[in-house]
């Protein structure tokens, strides 16, 4: 297992009271927990993954997510069981939508 931590600048988004969970820690899948973060213009991500040595790929995928979504003010925790970058991107967008949709 490898633990990775990233922090990206991201446009501030809605800050609901309740966290959101998306996905399952199954083969080729991952779970993402989105909670309120400390800094409104920053997205903080911690990843625990079964696949070692993919730090630069994670950095690229999360960086792309933080640049294209209003993920500022969130802390995101990920448990990963070998999800592909496409699945990770999809789940991140899904998790953020559920988190921010839950505020309405």
């Amino acid at each position: 297992m490898e633990t990775l931590e990233f922090r990206f600048a991201s446009k501030p988004g809605i800050r609901p009271d309740y966290p959101a969970l998306c996905g399952v820690v199954g083969s080729g899948n991952l779970e993402i927990l989105v909670q309120p973060g400390e800094q409104p213009d920053c997205c903080q991500v911690q990843i625990k993954t079964s696949a070692r040595g993919f730090g630069t790929t994670w950095q690229a995928v999360i960086g792309d997510f933080a640049a294209s979504h209003p993920a500022g003010g969130t802390t995101i925790a990920i448990n990963d069981m070998g999800a592909t970058p496409a699945v990770v991107s999809l789940r991140l967008a899904q998790a953020l939508a559920e988190y921010q949709g839950g505020a309405q």
Binding site: M1, P19, L21, V24, V25, G26, S27, N29, E31, L33, Q35, K48, T49, S50, A77, N79, D80, M81
Partner: protein, 300 residues
């Protein structure tokens, strides 16, 4: 036909959380120890394996057709729904609370291969504590209903737990047994049981077979709405009986008779013929309603 299939929400394919959302009254579920405050398994972390925030089981309270119920749902996609220390402790805590607060029922959405072997004794103890807690909740008058229709079925220790519940509601896709097919093949050889023969696996452990044998109270379609209406109907007609030695003895006799009648048979097809099914080879292709009608017509 295809349109009706498309309208279904498969129980088999759904996650534990999706099953709960579709099973209970809309918006009534309140999770106990949700992912943000629950704790992943420390044992898996020691083995350098990623855990799940909820350790593979969702517990909480909600309503089914207006009645207060408690729910535990295992996530089969995470480590085969296997029971580790925290996973087990969450279920045990829910069952103990049920014995005190007496909801209308505990709905136990089983989807598990049994003990999480990574956690060794902690997992084994967790399973035995669940068994005790199921019996204590029932002794307190709270029905515990097992719903089995997930991809992992109910095997190993969780097969025993399922049978300790007040009743089992199963789908054709569900499976229920003690040792799983791969375990039997590994221990006793492929001549004893060919785990790759999926049709054989379902003829011996699958929902239709379990229902025909009387192991399950109800057979429902692989549809979350069918599990909901089946569970609601079952609870409406069920009163949890007080435990008694006489009923245990009667059950023991029934099991001895069953072993004598079917113990030497090798395949569900042979068992169904012995049960009085005129065309046992037609059973795997029957839909749910036809199979229920077939069972109701069997000699008892």
């Amino acid at each position: 036909m295809i349109a009706s299939l498309a309208a279904r929400h498969s129980w088999f394919e759904a996650t534990a959380r999706a099953r709960i959302n579709g099973l209970l009254d809309a918006g009534s579920f309140s999770e106990i120890l949700p992912p943000a405050v629950s704790q992943p398994s420390p044992h898996l972390a020691q083995l350098d394996l990623p855990g799940a925030f909820d350790d593979g089981v969702v517990i909480g309270c909600g309503r089914l057709a207006g009645k207060a119920v408690f729910v535990a749902a295992q996530e089969g996609q995470f480590m085969g729904g296997a029971v580790g220390e925290i996973h087990g402790a969450k279920i045990v805590g829910l069952l103990r609370r049920a014995a005190l607060e007496k909801p209308a029922a505990v709905l136990f959405l089983i989807d598990s291969g049994g003990v999480r072997l990574h956690e060794a004794n902690a997992g084994l103890i967790a399973i035995s504590e669940i068994m005790r807690a199921v019996l204590d909740a029932r002794a307190a008058g709270v029905p515990v209903i097992a719903l089995v229709g997930g991809s992992c079925g109910a095997f190993g220790g969780m097969g025993i737990v399922a049978k300790l519940c007040s009743a089992i509601i199963i789908s054709e896709e569900g499976r229920l047994a003690l040792s799983g097919p791969e375990v039997i093949e590994t221990v006793a050889g492929v001549e004893e049981f060919d785990a790759k023969d999926r049709a054989l696996v379902w003829r011996v452990t699958g929902g239709k077979h379990r229902y025909l044998m009387g192991d399950c109270a109800m057979l429902v379609d692989d549809d979350i709405a069918a599990f909901r209406s089946g569970t609601t109907a079952f609870l409406a007609g069920w009163t949890e009986p007080a435990p008694s030695v006489a009923s245990l003895r009667a059950r023991q006799r029934a099991l001895e008779n069953r072993l004598a009648a079917y113990g030497a048979l090798r395949d569900g097809l042979q068992v169904w013929a012995a049960l009085g099914v005129a065309q046992p080879e037609s059973v795997p292709m029957l839909d749910r309603d036809s199979l229920v009608a077939l069972k109701e017509g069997l000699p008892t």
